[in-house]
């Protein structure tokens, strides 16, 4: 394959890119899906979830932060990479309390949809059974930390779009956890509102608008109708329209 100017190859497919664009953005713009949970069009990348790991030049890199380079050959949809992605998804499931049968996010949850996408049939690893507090102090928004996958989306949305800087991730490694930037540490003492992007961006059931659960009937929920590949691409298109 001859490397063209501003072209990369993902699983052999020729993909154009603009200088400075990430592999993820170039792929999504060309309707090529790379699995991801912490990437969201319009927000700066964070490289947190590691699901978008692709292989290039004998190394694994996170597609959401790796800059596209002319002629780059990238492997994305391979059995090895998908097996690694499934292991990561399984770890996310056991590290939190993701009890899909009773969770109000079921059918609208990206973690659940990712598990289906990757063909995950069990959790494989032992469940942590951790206990983290629920913050229901805000009149309209509840934060169930036991479901947080530390994707950092709410942090970036609140800081970069809502301009309120409500959330942060404190601690490192296994001790990393989501905190609320207020003197009391409670959501009620922040300026967050139910209409903020940070209040609705959570890919799992950690940040919820109160009393809205189960309102969408089964069959009409996001992932009853579309796959996570489709919604991933659609989110990108929606952002492109906003940018125009």
């Amino acid at each position: 394959m001859i490397a063209g100017t501003n072209t990369i190859y993902i699983d052999g497919q020729e993909i154009p890119f603009t200088p400075g664009q990430t592999v993820m953005d170039a792929a999504l713009a060309a309707s090529v899906y790379i699995p991801h949970l912490c990437h969201y069009p319009g927000l700066p990348p964070s490289g947190n979830c590691r699901l978008c790991m692709v292989e290039t030049g004998g190394r694994n890199v996170a597609a959401c932060i790796a800059q596209a380079a002319a002629g780059q050959e990238i492997r994305n949809n391979t059995p090895e990479l998908n097996a690694a992605r499934m292991a990561i998804t399984q770890m996310l499931f056991v590290e939190g309390n993701h009890i899909c049968p009773s969770c109000e996010k079921t059918g609208n949850c990206k973690l659940q949809a990712m598990a289906y996408h990757l063909g995950m049939l069990d959790q494989h690893f032992s469940q942590f059974y951790q206990h983290r507090d629920i913050d229901a102090s805000h009149p309209d928004i509840a934060l169930d930390r036991s479901r947080c996958i530390l994707c950092d989306l709410c942090v970036r949305a609140s800081r970069d779009i809502d301009r309120k800087n409500v959330f942060a991730i404190a601690g490192r490694g296994i001790d990393a956890h989501l905190i609320v930037n207020s003197a009391s540490g409670k959501l009620a003492d922040t300026p967050i509102a139910a209409t903020d992007l940070a209040a609705t961006i959570c890919p799992v059931g950690a940040i919820l608008i109160k009393e809205q659960g189960y309102r969408v009937p089964i069959g009409q929920r996001i992932y009853d109708r579309r796959t996570i590949c489709e919604t991933g691409l659609q989110e990108h298109i929606a952002q492109q329209r906003r940018d125009q």
């Binding site: 049968p101 009773s102 109000e104 629920i134 509840a142 009393e211 189960y214 309102r215 009937p217 009409q220």
Partner: protein
Amino acid sequence: MESDKPAPPSTRRIAIDPVTRVEGHGKITLLIDDNNHIVEARFHIVEFRGFEKFIQGRPYWEVPFLVQRLCGICPVSHQLAAAKAVDQIAGSRELTPTATKLRRLLHFGQMLQSHALHFFHLSSPDFLFGFGGDPKLRNIAGVLEQFPEIALQGVKLRKYGQSIIEVITGKRIHGTGTVPGGMNKSVTAIERDTLLAGIGDILQWSQDAVALNEHIHTAHPEHRDFGTLPSHYLSMTGTRGELEFYHGGLRARAADGSDIFDQFDYCGYQQILKEEVRSWSYLKFPYFSALGTALGWYRVGPLARINNCDRIITPRAEAARWRFKACGFGGPVHDTLAYHWARMIELLHCAESIHTLLHDPDITGTDLLADKDHRRPQGIGVIEAPRGTLFHHYHVNDEGLVTQANLIVSTTSNNQAMNESVRVVANRYLNGHEITATLLNHLEVAVRAYDPCLSCATHALGKMPLQVTLQHIDGAVIHQLTKKADGVIQ
């Protein structure tokens, strides 16, 4: 009646384990004295679920979908009882006609499938092959082979009930549907027409099931007095005393048919009901507080409901009720096996009510949500589940998180009655010191009449001691570990 009473010193303990064809798992212990008289029967509940505990701290709008996981047979009952409690907590005003009728339709579908499951799959083998029939044959596979038409009707009745559940909740089991103050969707005209196409057969098969049970009960004198137990009865009835499953007042009638209370607002249930804990069972023992633990136990479920109601508003079931009533000679019917007959009368009522509701334009309406007032700190939801009166009671804090939950499920209400029925039947069929296959079969039949659902009943995370014993087959205890009520392990 003393709780935690140790076995008298001169008694022997005979255990029968497990009881098959009961939802869950059970164990019976008979305590006999030197005269071979059974002084006490204990239907042990050894399962342990803990729902009341792990609901604590969860948002209240999540509760109907958490608690429906209590059971795979009657999840809709738990969802609806919790939804009624959640309506109160959310400050909902009266539900819209569409929402109310959708919930009723859902509930009838649930009753239909559960009752069909119980009779055709679990109990019909006892009646079609006889209590002492060959156990290899006395099961649903045997029924399918020898009475294929009856078995198939059972399967199709159940499937029809599940179709209703699927249309309204999106899934045959563990779907959604209820939201605070209403429902999340109505029925489309296409869904309604599909259901209507099958209702003719459902009505006919339900009627046939009543006739079959009526015949079984009246043609076999041994059924009439099998485990017959004069008892009090508790159920919900409509405002005019009619059979009612979804919403009404509580009615309790004594064994002689007189009222203990009537049209009692279920939100005050704690004034009339108390629960006793006994060390040998995870199941509590509820009783009418005014009558005390010894005399206050009661029965719930189909027998209680058909005995307690003054009428059934659907004509075929009402006609069947009159024939049933004749067996009581002016008073309640106390025959334990009449539970099955009563259950099939209810099955027919469900079929008729589904037929009526499917012709009601409200079920395809769009007005799904009630207006709301201020949120309330607690909610109590009560419905008649297939196995009997079901109570859900939740307290929430200012943030909307559950602080306390109390569930009284139907099987719990029948707890004492099941033990009494086992005692009565065992005294009659125990011969010497030997547990015969006949005795075992008869005890199972007595328990099964109540259609006990042990997974539902063992929801409470108790504080009672647990004892684990490692025992050699010769009876020698090798090791024993006891967790006391305070959590100390010895």
